[in-house]
Chain length 478, copies 2
């Protein structure tokens, strides 16, 4: 695009797409790389050779994050083919970037020795990150390659649960003393020669690591070299403790526009830091898993997972769904006599149930989202319930009224139309009430309101819808 | 927590909760602040006075991001009450932080003069951000308060569409020349006296603003003062053009762990920069709106929106849902004769339809997500279709088989059980095929696959499920 930009993001995107194209379009390229070449004639052989050459060039040219991205976007065969072409010096960074299921897939065919050698090219924080995802025996072997001090740190992180700040904190931090001048800080930094990624501030501590404040890099640059650190440091920084939930940290990063923040223990001693790139991953994973959970797909399923894995990931929700459908079916069965006398009821009942499910899911989506953003608390419960019931009442009267008239005209039966309207209003009210109550109760029970809310509300509105409609019909039409 | 942390995030969270509690628990506090006091006896009056005092203190103490967060989490009445207590010096920043619907709600009761005065406390990038959300006549008045140069910049941003990099870029950048030394850069920075938020790098340009490279703050600190900028600058930085989609920029920020990046025009001239805090907002909004769209709720609906607004935001999906349910109902109606002869069909048919809808939605959630992450391209289509059909076949045989046996035992009718099994297998296959095809076709048509996919798949599996089950029953059981 410009003279200065030698490898633009557009070119990188094009190269990523080209690799995917070359590996996916025909199977020959992938098979040849994996050492399973089929029979090819001479002309094809030349083309195949060119294609493999091109993929190899592209794999050499693309930076690690792009390779990671491309590996994510390939089915398992093609993924392994590309992995063979990734140079050893890039493999560590790539493994660090890919998501967990891809990483498991890739290390499957690597020997333990190869894997440990690749990991040793990474810095300590990256090694710790990956150590948490290694099979237990490999973790031990990785630990054995570290210095005692590093080993102690890894042990510390492995103690913290997934989902806590401790599990995503980094150890490489630069600390300075409060009484030195900015000129001394600069000399110190030059002697260090490098800073960890995403360093926007140094941490000011006492000799025993008690955090006194933070010194932003911009502060160092904006003040005169003779200034002492304590005169310009931020004395009231945002800090986290390792047991804070990562989602809460993410919200604070977003709220305060942070790039990094200190992690301290209960005595206020500096343990490490959190950086925005881990936080972005948390945000993405959080919302992504919300989407998956509402859809009944477990986090382990990758779009290219084999059939067996996909079946396993989904069967639980199908089983639950089948049970609830079965219960609804039993409710209908209870009204067999009514239906046999007025078969029209069988065609109309799914409308009542369906509209309830739709409304209930709208309400639940809204509530789950607000709970996640911590916008709802007990004080608002009455307000929300009232609002959702108001919405349901209006929608019920409008759409139930329309459907009532349509039913009346279709079957020439005014009473049936009236039952239809009444049933829709009632089922929408049930949907609204349960749409508020179900996620609230799940939170109160200490469970994640996103998991299964949708299945539960659909079960309630289906069963409820059939019962209300067929019950009213039995009362008024028989 | 520690001696150095004077106002910890835990305390801030507690204060936010306290404000919400005081305003929401009883209506008196809110009403009194809004100047609508009801009758109270003397003892209550004292408590009311104390409560209002406390809210006022808290509003004074909390920083802007926390106030914004609290305003988001309050119903409209309480929100306005708190807004009255937010000092004028904080109002600009708060308005900049809140989401669009809250901002509209808040400025509703402010006079144009007040609003413009509040906006004038913000820096130019914040003013531009808000100018895009102002009613048209106010935008003009805001522009009139700016210098001609600033006005030109605002005009430039307003040209770019929402969802593009241009609409979220910032103008305040620091540029330096390539031939000067780092010592000169530092002197220059000290003279400037401040840097824009999230500055992790300076931009190296020619006199006519052509971007030559980027100079990270860490680079300045790590090298000797005599070093010249061009020796240490990054000559191949990641850059964006204003028309790039913001979601693509977000993915690049995530991939490359960026804090800020240059925005250049087609000639390679520096126009402004993107920062990670805008990007985090994009990521959150993107995934959030995905969730909303799949649930059939428009982005304008806030959890505290009044009933009328909520009805408006949701009615379209309800109407579509009603239409599809009506079509499904007509399919059932076509088999009225069959049902009247075997009423058990009426109770069993929702099971077939329901399980299809569940499977279809699992498939669609997976596909939509992968499309969003750009992990799917035409070459994978066959693979995905094959995989989903394999999953559906296995699930169909297992669960359909179980339901077939249950049906057989329940109704003592083996043929009915066999029809049940066959119908479930077929409907699961329909769900899998359509779950892959529907979002793919929507993308091909240039539409957002998340919008309405779920409604469409449910319509297909309902109608299809009823038709398959009742059709098979008519063929084999009548």
């Amino acid at each position: 695009m410009t003279a200065t930009v030698k490898y633009s993001i557009q070119e990188r995107a094009a190269d990523r797409a080209r690799i995917r194209y070359l590996l996916s379009e025909g199977e020959e390229v992938t098979e040849a790389i994996l050492g399973k070449p089929g029979p090819v004639d001479e002309h094809d052989a030349q083309r195949l050779h060119d294609d493999i050459d091109e993929v190899t060039q592209l794999a050499r040219r693309l930076p690690e994050p792009d390779l990671a991205d491309t590996l994510e976007a390939l089915p398992s065969e093609e993924r392994h083919a590309l992995w063979r072409l990734v140079g050893e010096e890039k493999r560590g960074k790539v493994l660090h970037e890919v998501s967990e299921h891809v990483w498991e897939d890739l290390i499957d065919e690597m020997s333990d020795r190869d894997l440990l050698r690749v990991l040793s090219t990474l810095d300590i924080d990256e090694q710790i990150y990956l150590a948490q995802r290694l099979p237990r025996d490999l973790t031990g072997r990785l630990l054995a390659t570290l210095s005692p001090e590093e080993r102690a740190r890894v042990g510390q992180v492995l103690r913290y649960e997934k989902g806590s700040v401790g599990a995503i904190m980094e150890f490489e931090v630069i600390t300075v003393r409060a009484e030195i001048t900015l000129a001394t800080v600069q000399r110190y930094l030059r002697r260090l020669g490098k800073m960890p990624e995403n360093t926007d501030k140094l941490f000011v501590t006492t000799r025993d690591m008690t955090l006194l404040g933070e010194l932003e890099l911009t502060t160092i640059l904006l003040h005169r070299p003779q200034t002492r650190v304590e005169e310009v440091m931020e004395k009231n920084p945002v800090t986290f403790i390792p047991t804070d939930p990562d989602e809460e940290a993410a919200r604070t990063f977003e709220r305060d526009n942070l790039v990094s923040a200190a992690v301290v223990d209960h005595q206020g001693k500096l343990m490490g830091r959190l950086t925005v790139d881990e936080i972005v991953d948390v945000v993405i994973e959080e919302t992504d898993s919300g989407l998956r959970r509402m859809g009944g797909i477990s986090a382990e399923e990758d779009v290219f997972a084999p059939v067996g894995k996909a079946v396993k990931s989904r069967w639980a929700w199908l089983a639950i769904n089948l049970c609830t459908a079965f219960i609804a079916s039993r409710v209908i069965d209870g009204f067999e006599h009514t239906i046999s006398q007025l078969v029209a009821l069988a065609s109309l009942m799914p409308i009542v149930a369906g509209i309830g499910g739709n409304t209930g899911n709208q309400t639940i989506t809204m509530i789950v989202r607000s709970l996640a953003l911590q916008h709802i608390q007990p004080g608002n419960f009455g307000f929300l319930l009232g609002r959702e019931m108001g919405v349901a009442l209006i929608n019920g009267l409008v759409w139930g009224g329309i459907m009532g008239i349509v039913t009346w005209l279709l079957y020439d039966d005014m009473a049936l139309g009236a039952v239809m309207t009444l049933a829709m209003v009632l089922n929408l009210l049930v949907a609204a009430v349960m749409g508020v109550i179900v996620p609230m109760v799940m939170v109160r029970l200490g469970r994640d309101p996103a998991v299964g809310s949708s299945v539960m509300i659909t079960a309630i509105t289906d069963t409820g819808g059939f019962f209300i409609f067929l019950g009213l019909a039995t009362l008024f039409l028989m």
